[in-house]
Symmetry: C2
Subunit: 317 residues, 2 copies
């Protein structure tokens, strides 16, 4: 029975599991919260949960480790992990030293795309894109049957493609330091910020009422609920965000001609009315010749996709 | 001495040459104009020039043939070749039957990207995009060291990514039947049409004067010359087209993280002021982390890139 060891490293916790390479299944993942987000402390946390997962599955010391990180990664270095507050950390080297065996690090959406392509919604497809809209926006790309990470490991940064702006509009500022990024309009964190701005400016009163005036609760779920109730502000916002995301997805598909686009992430999967707008817009705007060969699917592996994909990165021991 | 046989099939003529796989050089290509653009007649023309090229190089009958076609191609079929007026022609099968040996067909920009990556401006790079702005707009993608043609052979259709539009603007109609495609704004044929529209509407008088009122001569070269003379209409048009192309190139780079973007095509290479705007805009708008690893280069193989890449498609005999 072939098993591989995968780790999913997020901003608040780390999970590890031994994944069956036959079907992508895994026993309950070991989880640990970061008490301390410094690289040294996180490395030790990863080693602890990975050791537990390996021991539970009977995997020997020296088993290679695959790690998906919510970060921009390049050649084993974590260039920028906003939710860990890391900049240019030689993470694969640090972890391999502590773990005592080879470590492969990749962006978490790249890992999730691998998982979905091998065992999930894009099974059997050589060209697939995972489009993820959660707190942020990103993509993982499987092209020609292989993970496409780009020359510097930065491929798939769909959240930072620039949206078309009216002349004179500098675009919303993005966490990356630039303006006009898709994520600044459509990512969950920025959506919530936009709603708070609107309410503070005296707009979107119906949405403020939905959260009883508690602005901290405003978010994608509020907009989805507002749409269900026919709230005009909510409908206008989902129309706009649906167009921006749909155009970005259409352009990705026109450029890459994937057979399957997997839609994932809490914002998209939790907002059927937004998902419907994204699909409709993307289907209307993708090159016509490309459309018949393109299928949309909802992510099938849930939040296990990254863990499974990380194990695939590591490969069999 | 390893040689391979490449064919470049355009809308008005076909060229063939035996290409040295060591350095991409080839003796003068054989050329034939299409007297008749029907698939049957073109197949015979391709066989004639390919036979001449093979004979001149001492290549035997049965040598595989690679063909780059200015068309959307899928699995050996030419789905849509506007300048040949073909729709869904089983071209590889027809040609292989007449040629008597295996034939591989690909989009001409895919072939040109292969040529530039092996022997030209993107030599030594595993992830490269050729961005072509000539009569139309398109791209060829080399990802992970391999040609990326997509699930249905339609990858690289950069001319049909949609540009951001102001609310209420349906976008310019494109030859593909959709609206708002990049090519409708930035392709050479559409640029000339836009200039004629402007002049007909009483605008762009300075540009009309540059061609002595002969509207058929209006085109990218007129705009470039207008910019050199400080014509305000010309400067505004290159600013707009530079932004649209630059944003599309930036978004391609943010999504794919190539090490090299090769700029090619008559409009770009013939308009240094436009090329400069495209590079500047793309560099300003690509994800910041991606920028240091990205190099821009001008296409180095001229109009031989497609022929050389077609030979690479065929591989050694």
């Amino acid at each position: 029975l072939a098993l591989a060891l995968g780790v999913d490293l997020g901003g608040t916790n780390v999970r590890a599991a031994a994944v069956r390479l036959e079907d992508g299944s895994f026993a309950a993942a070991r989880r640990e919260l970061h008490a301390d987000r410094s690289p040294g402390a996180v490395v030790l946390g990863v080693v602890r949960v990975a050791r537990e997962a390996a021991a539970a599955a009977g995997l020997p010391a020296g088993t290679p480790l695959g790690v998906g990180v919510a970060a921009q990664c390049r050649g084993g270095r974590v260039l920028n992990a906003p939710n860990l507050a890391w900049r240019d950390v030689p993470f694969a080297a640090l972890l391999a030293e502590a773990w005592g065996a080879p470590v492969r690090v990749a962006n978490d959406l790249s890992a999730a795309a691998l998982g979905e392509q091998r065992f999930g919604a894009a099974r059997g497809v050589d060209d697939a894109a995972l489009v993820f809209v959660g707190s942020g926006v990103g993509a993982g790309l499987i092209l020609g049957g292989r993970l496409h990470e780009g020359a510097g490991g930065l491929a798939g940064e769909l959240g930072h493609v620039k949206v078309g702006l009216r002349p004179g509009d500098p675009g919303r500022p993005c966490g990356c330091g630039q303006r006009g990024c898709l994520e600044a309009y459509a990512g969950g964190v920025n959506l919530a910020a936009r709603l708070r701005e609107d309410v503070a400016a005296g707009r979107a009163g119906g949405l403020a009422a939905l959260v009883g005036g508690d602005l901290a609760r405003l978010g994608a779920a509020t907009v989805e609920e507002g749409c269900a109730r026919g709230d005009a502000d909510a409908l206008a916002l989902w129309d706009e965000v649906g167009e921006l995301l749909g155009d970005a997805v259409a352009n990705l598909a026109t450029l890459l001609d994937p057979a399957c686009i997997v839609l994932g992430g809490g914002v998209l999967l939790g907002s059927p009315r937004l998902e419907e707008r994204v699909r409709r817009r993307a289907e209307a705007r993708v090159l016509e010749a490309t459309r018949p060969g393109l299928r949309f699917a909802r992510a099938a592996l849930g939040d296990g996709a990254g863990l499974v994909g990380a194990a695939l990165l590591a490969g069999p021991p």
